[in-house]
């Protein structure tokens, strides 16, 4: 099978399903004469996307920037904390519950407080999104660092390896698949966190993200525009997921995926 054929067979079915759903949606809206302020059809949404493109694009970039910064902070701080937690069971037992508390408290409930404490709205949004993205990074990376092959660790002990050598040569590479799995989850969560925080903040002004465009369109009964912003949000989520999956594949396919040549 050629490369193109494989791509088609992989991407064809999901695309067909999406196209079919859109067609049914458009047909339903036209057939039942559903007003656009209740449910606009896909074509009307596409038109709205075109009409408001410059505004929506700058909002998309803003939301993506907030998401990216939050994710970066989660990776650095979450990964760092995981390294600390993996140093000893005692440290893990002491600090892990705190991370869990942070995780289970709904971000919608924390966001108003953060907006009071942090005057810079943009920073508050990053902090909100970062908190949501933080936990999967900590949990997955800690699990990964602790799941190194015990015999391999024994072997390194036998050779008198230092703590740093054990970390760099065995623990860190063992943790990589777990870390990347966490990164994919955190990416999606960071986007959700950014949107939720912005909905709570309800900030206007020059720099606004897609969530505010959704609110704004809702107030003005511009439902097609609201859907257009929503479409962009979904697209951003898919793109983020694809990018992180690609990164994961790039780093792992040599040893952690199948499809390798075999002996003889």
């Amino acid at each position: 099978m050629s490369r193109l054929q494989r791509w088609l067979s992989a991407l064809g079915p999901p695309f067909a399903v999406i196209l079919l759903s859109l067609a049914v949606w458009e047909g339903l809206v036209r057939w039942r004469h559903i007003p656009e302020y209740i449910l606009p059809g896909p074509l009307r949404i596409a038109a709205a996307l075109g009409e408001s493109w410059p505004t929506l694009l700058s909002s998309l970039l803003f939301t993506l920037a907030v998401t990216g910064e939050a994710l970066l902070a989660a990776v650095v701080l979450g990964g760092g904390l995981a390294v600390l937690l993996a140093q000893s069971r005692w440290i893990e037992r002491s600090f892990f519950p705190l991370a869990v508390i942070l995780q289970v408290t709904p971000i919608v409930a924390i966001a108003p407080l953060l907006l009071i404490w942090i005057h810079n709205v943009r920073l508050a949004l990053v902090v909100c999104a970062g908190i949501v993205a933080f936990f999967p990074m900590v949990a997955n990376t800690t699990l990964g660092l602790n799941s190194a092959d015990h015999n391999l660790l024994d072997l390194l002990r036998l050779y008198g390896a230092s703590r740093w050598q054990v970390f760099r040569r065995v623990r860190l590479p063992s943790a990589l698949p777990y870390f990347l799995g966490g990164l994919r989850i955190s990416g999606g969560l960071a986007l959700i966190g950014a949107v939720v925080a912005e909905l709570v903040a309800g900030s206007g002004g020059t720099e606004t993200g897609l969530a505010y465009r959704i609110l704004e369109s809702g107030y003005n009964l511009q439902i097609p525009r609201m859907f257009a912003a929503l479409v962009l949000l979904s697209a951003a989520g898919v793109l983020l997921w694809a990018a992180l999956s690609g990164l994961s594949w790039l780093l792992l396919h040599r040893w952690h995926e199948s499809a390798l040549r075999r002996e003889g």
Binding site: N151, D154, L158, Y159, G160, A161, P173, W255
Partner: protein, 262 residues
Amino acid sequence: MPRPPVPDAESIAEPVVRLCQVEQRFARGVTALAGLDLDVRPGEWLSLLGPSGCGKSTALRLIAGLSQPTAGTVERHLPDTNALGGIGFVFQEPTLMPWATVEDNVGLPLQIFGVSRTEIRARVGDLIERVGLAGFERARPRELSGGMKMRVSIARALVAAPRLLLLDEPFAALDEITRARLNDDLLALWQAQGFTVVFVTHSVWESVYLSTRIAVFSARPGRVVAEVAIDAQAPRGADFRESAIYLSTCRQVSEKLAEAMR
């Protein structure tokens, strides 16, 4: 290939490792070893033979210094751990780093010791050649068969020129043919390099084929209940498997093992 001299017990002043009245009790209340006396003599191939769960692997870990006995003493007459010429260990599983190439897996001990890059390359290349993996230097473990992975594991154990090689049922998971071939290759390496081997196995045939001495373990809590010396000259090969001494020794060891389990 000439066989390295295996000195008889009396002429040896100092064993490589000496276990004296060793007891190993685990936290969950299981006593794995009790009253274990065992000398590992320089240059010999000593097999620890016994039923599953008799503490052979526990004894091997004690010999390696990976765990400490709850009673008794373990004396080790070997250089420091963090240097060449110490202990090599081969586990039941290949225990390789899946993310690293064959080369990097084999070179791991030398990298830990801080050996220079050029020397690592030379030693690793040599060992890969010796275990028959030339051409697979850049391959990752997933690309290798079970037998080849075990060869990588053996190469890694030998790369730091150990004086004592510890093998924990390394071939248990391999098919008969691969197992026989690896036995012969390992035997040849031992004959050529003259290190000491402690080999844990539950196969009577394998232990008689490979060893100069067999220590038969009792059921748990394990201790040595019989020792059998095998006085057969190398090279051992297909002929040895059919020889009278091989068959009679197998019978003798089987009887001792049956007694030990009674």
